[in-house]
């Protein structure tokens, strides 16, 4: 169990909320919460306001943070207006406040030596990768990035983010931007061309599973940020589990909010949705 001891709960103010493509880029004045966030961490936000019928928080990957500025520490998110909760959030005006808990969960591990890293993002899954890219660059790594989405509007890639990486490849299912197809199709070429030694990924679970297959084929380390439905985000409800092989080789249903969202892709038992993998500790006896 990896409780993020830096987590705080606080009421934070929205200091910017801009629509960018299919997403909203939102900035919150979070005080010293910004100091403690690492790439891969997420925050959990109450949605709906008083009298809301929505009782659960929504989790959002941290896009980036700034320690100080006009508003003190700030924290940024990339939010897709999807269902009732995210639509409520993205419709909030400047200066509205929300209740935020964070930073939560595990973060991307940074190699101790400079390596060639490939960052793979699907949809809003690109968000945590830009902060990660900066950190990797600071550590002397070469950073290449590939982003995929169904169409151009769903690629989140701000200009300064693009500039920070050594190369940027885009794929869209409909071909409206970059290469037509899925990110997976371009991975082998990029891995070979840039001599990739580590892959970081964030996006929908099927994409992560596919990236792991490629990583395994090439014998490359793969750290991924998973996304399983979370009721609490703080480790108390056991809803967000995924089957994970632990240090002793035992498979356990592990909480993606505490032992994740960032996990070693090789340890995840992929494609098990809908069943408990054989051999999991405490698996149902039939």
């Amino acid at each position: 169990m990896n409780i993020n001891r830096r987590a705080q709960q606080r009421s934070v103010e929205i200091v910017s909320n801009k629509k960018i493509g299919a997403y909203h880029h939102m900035v919150f004045a979070v005080g010293d919460m910004a100091l403690h966030a690492l790439p891969g961490n997420f925050v959990a936000i109450s949605v709906g306001g008083p009298g809301s019928s929505m009782v659960l928080r929504r989790a959002f990957a941290i896009y980036r943070t700034h320690d100080r500025g006009n508003y003190g520490g700030t924290l940024e998110l990339v939010v897709a207006p999807h269902g009732q909760g995210s639509r409520w959030l993205t419709a909030l005006p400047m200066h509205a406040t929300v209740d935020m808990v964070g930073p939560l969960g595990t973060n991307f591990g940074i190699p101790t030596e400079p390596v060639n890293a490939l960052l793979v993002g699907g949809g809003y899954g690109s968000a945590p990768l830009f902060g990660l890219a900066e950190l990797l660059k600071e550590n002397g790594c070469r950073v290449d990035m590939v982003l995929g989405a169904s169409s151009a509007g769903k690629i989140y890639a701000p200009l300064e983010g693009k500039r920070a990486v050594n190369s940027m490849t885009v794929t869209t299912d409909d071909g409206s931007a970059g290469t037509k197809g899925q990110v997976i199709s371009v991975l082998p070429g990029l891995i070979e061309r840039y001599n990739i030694e580590i892959i970081y990924s964030c996006g929908p679970m099927p994409m992560l599973a596919a990236v792991q297959e490629v990583a395994q084929k090439f014998g490359i380390i793969h750290q991924c940020a998973v996304e399983e439905a979370m009721a609490c985000g703080i480790g108390v409800c056991m809803t967000c589990v995924i089957p994970l092989r632990d240090a002793n080789g035992e498979i356990r249903m592990s909480r993606s909010c505490i032992d994740g969202p960032v996990m070693d892709g090789a340890n995840v038992i992929w494609n098990s949705k809908g069943e408990i993998p054989k051999g999991t500790v405490g698996e149902p006896h039939v």
Partner: protein, 315 residues
């Protein structure tokens, strides 16, 4: 404000007393450790641990949750490490944190409950045992114990016999029954010292895009504010029938007003479950709000408010 400091917030179940009546709900506070970064665990009445079984258990496949209007469904399936690891790891942490502890146990057979009670005998630092009987009985084609008066009685008898008079036994009932007062009567006569009301209600959500049940386990337990009126009714009915048996009330409590409703209906303690998911510090705010509301209504002691809604019309 001198008045406030005189307020007696303590409650008791059988001979065990607690400094205040706010508890976690089983399965909604992890092992305690996870909440301890949001408030000191000794600030609340007790931690009710998640229901522990004899052996380790993986629980149900995902998705395990679905949000519903003012509530949620869960189908965790009692994931847990089994009693041995639980006693070796979780209990020492809670004791060190100064927390009072109510251990919740769950079994698949009457024997399981006996084994669990045996393992708890003599464990230092426990305040009570909560017996979760909302579990399928594998010896009775999976019928939930709490839905069958005979099976409920058998479980409580074996726990009582095994534990002796050592620890108060609080039996947690399911609202999914035709007559909850009758089940309460059975378990009381079988030796329960107190009752916990209510567990979740069986529900289902269908994903209208996949056009299948949303949860991996198909059905799940409904909790949260949506079920509060059911909890209040169950507590009221059972307190009316057995006014001397203390009740640990739960079901949709998110603030002090909700907690007060349950107390007035007859709850001697209030557990907070789903509200913690939405607000990690809910236990603290419920505690403070309940205290203020009681003081504002002129109560000098928490115990005076328990079941107050039952007083006769001319009082």
């Amino acid at each position: 404000m001198s008045h406030m400091s005189n307020f007696d917030f303590a409650t008791s179940f059988n001979n065990t007393s607690f400094p205040n009546p706010i508890f976690t709900a089983s399965g909604c506070a992890g092992s305690g450790k996870e909440l301890s970064q949001f408030f000191p665990l000794n600030e609340i009445g007790a931690i009710v641990t998640k229901s522990i079984m004899v052996k380790a258990r993986s629980g149900r496949p995902t998705p395990r949750m679905a949000e519903t209007p003012s509530g949620m469904l869960n189908s965790i399936g009692l994931q847990g490490p089994g009693i041995d690891q639980f006693l070796a790891e979780d209990i020492p942490f809670l004791i060190k944190a100064g927390s009072r502890i109510i251990v919740s146990i769950a079994g698949e057979s009457v024997d399981d409950y006996g084994s669990l009670a045996r393992r708890l005998r003599g464990v230092p630092g426990l305040s009570a045992v909560e017996v979760n009987i909302s579990c399928p009985n594998v010896e009775s084609r999976g019928q939930v114990f709490a839905c069958d008066p005979i099976a409920s009685r058998a479980v409580v008898e074996v726990v009582r016999r095994t534990l002796g008079g050592e620890l108060p036994i609080i039996v947690k009932l399911s609202p999914d029954v035709t007559d909850i007062v009758a089940i309460a009567g059975e378990v009381i006569s079988a030796g329960a010292d107190g009752l916990a009301l209510i567990n979740t209600l069986l529900g289902m959500v269908i994903d209208i895009d996949l056009m299948r049940p949303k949860l991996g386990g198909k059905t799940g337990g409904l909790s949260g504010p949506a079920i509060r009126p059911i909890a209040v009714r169950a507590i009221y009915q059972v307190h009316q029938a057995f006014p001397k048996v203390p009740i640990l009330g739960m079901g949709g409590v998110t603030n002090g007003r909700d907690a007060l409703e349950l107390v007035l209906a007859g709850a001697s303690g209030v557990s907070i479950g789903t509200a913690t998911f939405g607000n990690p510090s809910a236990l603290m705010s419920v505690k403070e709000e309940l205290k203020s509301l009681l003081i504002a209504r002129g109560f000098s002691s928490f115990k005076d408010a328990v079941g107050h809604a039952h007083r006769s019309e001319n009082e």
